[in-house]
């Protein structure tokens, strides 16, 4: 026995030595790693500017066949139609527009600075030619051939104002128009890119459409939604741009075959019954989508149609409200993709109209409207996109929802009465308890981590909103045949995505637009005041969670809030993809933040750090800049209020005129119907 012990002794000594050596090695590598890190990447050489060729005089032929000559690219433009304004914006020349037609301001895809320009009238009611002249435009861009257009053009040309007349009969014309406008505005490069974007997608649509065999081509009728609502004769799309679009994607447009020479023929309902198409598409503005579908569903005449019985009546959201996919101008191609995908989901599987829309808006329009703002509508369902980017089919009208996540957003959207189940955590929310005490009576089928399937089955909701952290829970719910909206919130953009998704899901898009607009305004207020602060003068912030060494890394809404408020998150660089991370205290000393913010629900406060002598070496503590944030919900519109609060604390001299509580009260009242001061100290 003793000999065994003797051997073991040396084994143990060896183990100890190994452990110590391991520690030393770890430390040395850490030191080496940090000292060897390059101080800063060398700045890239300044890009060499391409030399501009001297521009020749511009000569173009418009759609009327008239030749227009300009000495230089137009710098002042009056545009009468919103879709041409969209093209100009997409060409990066929004600043050349000086006057717009009466309907242009309603186009929500246009930037506010265009929508706020002086209005000069419309093609239908006539324009104030003198008003146009007083704007001294280099050129006027407008449709011709209908309304009072030709008369207007004549007058303008008499006054010596060049007019570019446009009219679209298909994507080829769209492309030609973009080419012309690119030349007129001196934006040929951008025009080429936009044309490329449209051409490749159009080519794909036609290529796939040609693959549909003659015998399998569906019979389609494409109806104007306003005529459906009126209840009289139906106005159809035949030999016009959209009427022919249906043929491009491998379907038979019945109206086009019956009325080959008419653009928009009118037929009575009996004709429609006689044709009995396989699929019906109806155009509508976003606002009236459900109204049109309600009309179809309630009017029993429609029920005899094959398309109704098979559920293949679809609405195409059109025009300039957010959510509209089909319009003339750059979005035309997206609307065609939308129609194609609904018509032949298998043939057009690879077509992603939502992704293309997001891309178009981001890269050409320069606006940030996520996929989640767009839905596809049928007589039976609507197809929305959840914040994770999955397409989810929900009933056309969502009436019963189990929401295990976004309590305050539901309150802000005014849809609390549609909640049939909430997370048990919602019942502890201080705002909900005050504003909507009925929350206590709403049953709770569990949380995102554990759901009582029987309670859920009993509630039978139209949709469940959930964190997808536990796949088995999601699977269980989906097995019941209940659609699941999955949410993650790692950034401010995710919060916006969630809000858009909820707005589309509940069908309260106008309310969402208002709230997102409020949020944008709050951020703008902050951005305007901090934008000129150089990066080395930005306040370096550390955000602390449930204990003082648990810090906010570079991923998450809190990190975004710090950045949006004009600060630098000191922990972001070393932990770029973490939301919560526990660090060694020495690391905080090394970061030496200028300001520390503590989570409102943490069980400690600034006084705990201020009285702890070891924190005294941290700059923020030394200077007394340690704050506990007031109550707010991290995952809703509140986040923007927090950005303002943070900015006020970071740069008090720049925000000395801002009364945070007053602003917070105002928005809380608008969003939730309660004063912020009533809940600010909750928790």
């Amino acid at each position: 026995m003793r000999s065994q012990v003797g051997i073991s002794k040396w084994v143990l000594v060896t183990i100890l030595v190994v452990v110590i050596v391991a520690i030393v090695a770890a430390v040395i590598t850490t030191y080496l790693y940090y000292s060897a890190r390059p101080s800063k990447p060398t700045a890239p050489p300044p890009p060499t500017k391409p030399t501009k060729p001297t521009k020749p005089a511009i000569v173009i032929k418009d759609f009327r066949g008239k030749t227009i000559e300009l000495a230089k690219p137009a710098e002042r433009v009056v545009v009468l139609q919103s879709y041409w304004a969209e093209v100009i914006v997409a060409l990066g020349k929004a600043n050349t527009i000086v006057g717009v037609g009466s309907y242009v301001p309603y186009d929500e895809y246009l930037p506010p600075e265009v929508r706020d320009l002086p209005k000069v009238g419309s093609i239908f009611r006539g324009v104030n030619v003198e008003a146009i002249a007083s704007l001294k435009p280099d050129v006027v861009i407008m449709d011709f051939g209908y309304g009072k257009a030709d008369e207007i053009i004549k007058k303008l040309e008499q006054m010596g104002i060049p007019v570019i007349g446009l009219f679209i009969r298909g994507i080829e014309d769209e492309i030609k128009a973009i080419e012309i406008l690119g030349k007129v505005l001196g934006a040929e490069e951008k025009a080429k890119k936009l044309i490329e974007f449209i051409k490749t997608r159009y080519g794909k649509l036609k290529e796939l459409g040609a693959k549909v065999p003659e015998s399998k081509r569906l019979k389609v009728v494409f109806i104007s939604g306003s005529s459906v609502l009126k209840g009289g004769a139906l106005s159809l799309y035949a030999n016009a741009s959209w009427g022919r679009a249906v043929e491009d994607i491998g379907a038979v447009n019945v109206a086009l075959h019956e009325f080959p020479n008419k653009k928009w023929p009118k037929v009575d309902f009996e004709t429609l019954v006689k044709w009995d198409p396989d699929v019906v598409f109806i155009t509508s503005s976003v606002k009236y989508v459900q109204k049109v579908l309600d009309k179809v569903a309630s009017d029993t005449r429609w029920h005899v149609l094959k398309a109704y019985k098979s559920g293949r009546i679809y609405v195409v959201p059109c025009w300039g409200s957010i959510g509209g996919v089909l319009d003339w101008g750059p979005r035309d191609i997206i609307g065609r993709e939308y129609i194609a995908k609904l018509l032949y989901p298998d043939v057009y599987r690879e077509v992603d109209w939502r992704g293309d829309m997001e891309y178009l808006l981001e890269h050409f329009y320069g606006i940030d409207i996520p996929k989640q703002a767009f839905a596809a509508y049928s007589i039976e369902w609507k197809e929305i996109v959840d914040p994770l980017g999955n397409v989810v089919k929900v009933p056309r009208k969502v009436k019963k929802v189990v929401d295990l996540i976004s309590y305050l957003s539901d309150l802000a959207l005014g849809v609390m009465d549609r909640l049939v189940g909430v997370s048990k955590y919602a019942k502890k929310n201080p705002v909900l308890l005050k504003v909507y005490p009925k929350i206590k009576d709403i049953p709770s089928p569990g949380s995102s981590f554990k759901v009582n399937i029987e309670v859920l089955e009993m509630l039978r909701p139209d949709v469940v909103i959930i964190w997808p952290y536990k796949p088995s829970v999601v699977e269980q719910i989906e097995k019941l045949g209940i659609p699941v909206v999955k949410v993650h919130l790692y950034s401010y953009d995710d919060v916006r995505r969630l809000l858009w998704c909820l707005g589309v899901l509940y069908g309260v898009v106008d309310r969402v637009k208002k709230i997102i607009n409020d949020m944008d305004n709050l951020l703008m207020l902050v951005r305007e005041r901090i934008k000129d602060i150089p990066s080395e003068k930005r306040v370096r912030v550390l955000y602390l969670w449930s204990k003082p060494t648990r810090v906010q890394g570079g991923r998450g809404t809190m990190n975004d809030a710090i950045v949006l408020a004009g600060g630098v998150n000191v922990a972001a660089k070393e932990f770029p993809d973490k939301s919560y991370v526990t660090v060694d205290f020495e690391r905080i000393v090394k970061w030496n933040p200028d300001m520390i913010v503590i989570w409102w629900w943490a069980k400690y406060g600034p006084e705990d750090l201020l009285k702890d002598p070891k924190w005294s070496v941290v700059k923020a503590v030394k200077e007394g800049r340690v704050y506990k944030e007031p109550y707010y919900e991290h995952w809703g519109p509140d986040l923007t209020l927090f950005v303002l609060w943070l900015a006020c604390k970071m740069y008090p001299d720049r925000f000395s005129d801002i009364n945070f509580m007053e602003i917070a009260n105002k928005y809380y009242m608008e969003w939730y119907g309660i004063l912020y001061s009533e809940v600010a100290s909750a928790g």
């Binding site: 065994q4 073991s8 002794k9 969670w545 932990f575 660090v583 060694d584 020495e586 629900w601 070496v617």
Partner: protein
């Protein structure tokens, strides 16, 4: 003196480990400055004004952390050693008495439901003592404090409080609090690294350690079995009760501050026994020293191994399990 080399090795490893941990850390400090800081703390008139930041880091962060780790390690190891010999079972440590789950339940309760003015460690301490009392009373009421009775009662109380802990976790009013509970359960020396907390820990654990140290020869007697102990004039029931209570008291006091750190009380006495033999007089003494060393080094790893701080309880278990397997294979036969 027998086994002089390993004894010396163990004895010197503790100051060495503490010295190492004073030098280690993410904040770069050169050894000379650290030594200056330490010297100026001991002899304030000899050396003056080392850099303030380094002084704070070394004296208010690294030093208390090392000391807290040392105390925790010593307490866990010595109570493990005492229990293993008393209960004549190599597979126990103090946690078998329901202390860990009691403390975990108390801490979870405080984090989830009690107002922030109530210190978490106080609730944890109270509940770990309550859990121990339950196990103790249970053992005495039906088994008159026998070995089997004590272990079984511990298992029952453990199970009960684990279930209660799970319930508190499930009912936690907010996912963030749930996360806090989970972190507490994984152990963190950092939350005990304050001089005033160390003083409180010492106030309870130092006398307890001393008592066990002075009673260390009785452990030898108790480990022979009840009959033999009685024959040698020791009342095994009373002595075992007393020693168990002392172990529970000091373990509760440390666990309340540091969270649950597993596998130290189990492993360290075994290592010491392998090195120095099974005489409890030696095992107790060197378990104190070696437990402290082990814990200090483990905490250094937790602090320095990655850019994030690792939970110490997880670390000790991950290191401990394979080491234990190795020891068992190596030394089958040393323990009965």
């Amino acid at each position: 003196m027998r086994k002089l080399v390993p004894k010396l090795f163990v004895s010197f490893s503790l100051p060495l480990a503490i010295l190492i941990s004073l030098l280690l850390g993410h904040y770069r400090t050169d050894p000379k400055t650290v030594l200056e800081v330490v010297l100026s703390a001991v002899f304030p008139h000899l050396i003056h004004s080392p850099p303030e930041t380094v002084r704070v880091i070394v004296l208010l962060y690294r030093a208390p952390r090392a000391i807290a780790a040392a105390i925790t390690g010593a307490v866990l190891a010595v109570s493990g050693a005492a229990l293993q010999s008393m209960l004549r079972n190599p597979l126990v440590d103090t946690y078998i008495l329901g202390i860990a789950s009691g403390a975990g339940f108390g801490a979870a309760l405080a984090i989830a439901f009690l107002p922030p003015t109530v210190p978490v460690e106080l609730v944890a301490f109270c509940f770990s003592l309550i859990a121990f009392m339950l196990a103790f009373v249970l053992a005495w009421s039906w088994g008159r404090g026998g070995v089997i009775a004590l272990v079984l009662s511990g298992v029952i109380v453990n199970a009960f409080f684990s279930a209660a802990l799970a319930l508190v976790k499930y009912l936690a009013p907010d996912p963030h609090r749930l996360a806090s509970i989970v972190f507490w359960l994984m152990g963190d020396i950092g939350q005990a690294a304050f001089w005033y907390k160390i003083m409180r820990m010492l106030a309870i654990s130092l006398p307890c350690i001393l008592v066990i140290w002075f009673m260390r020869w009785r452990l030898n007697v108790l480990s022979l079995g009840d009959e033999e102990a009685r024959a040698l004039g020791v009342n095994p029931t009373v002595e075992r009760g007393l020693l168990t209570a002392i172990c529970a008291l000091m373990t509760s006091a440390t666990v309340a501050y540091t969270g649950i750190i597993g596998w130290v009380g189990l492993l360290v006495p075994h290592i010491v026994r392998l090195m120095l033999g099974t005489d409890n007089r030696v095992v107790v003494t060197y378990s104190i020293v070696f437990g402290a060393t082990y814990m200090v080094l483990a905490d250094d790893l937790a602090r320095c191994l990655t850019s994030e701080e690792l939970p110490i309880g997880v670390l000790t278990t991950i290191m401990g399990a394979p080491l234990y397997i190795y020891l068992l294979r190596r030394a089958s036969g040393v323990w009965r």
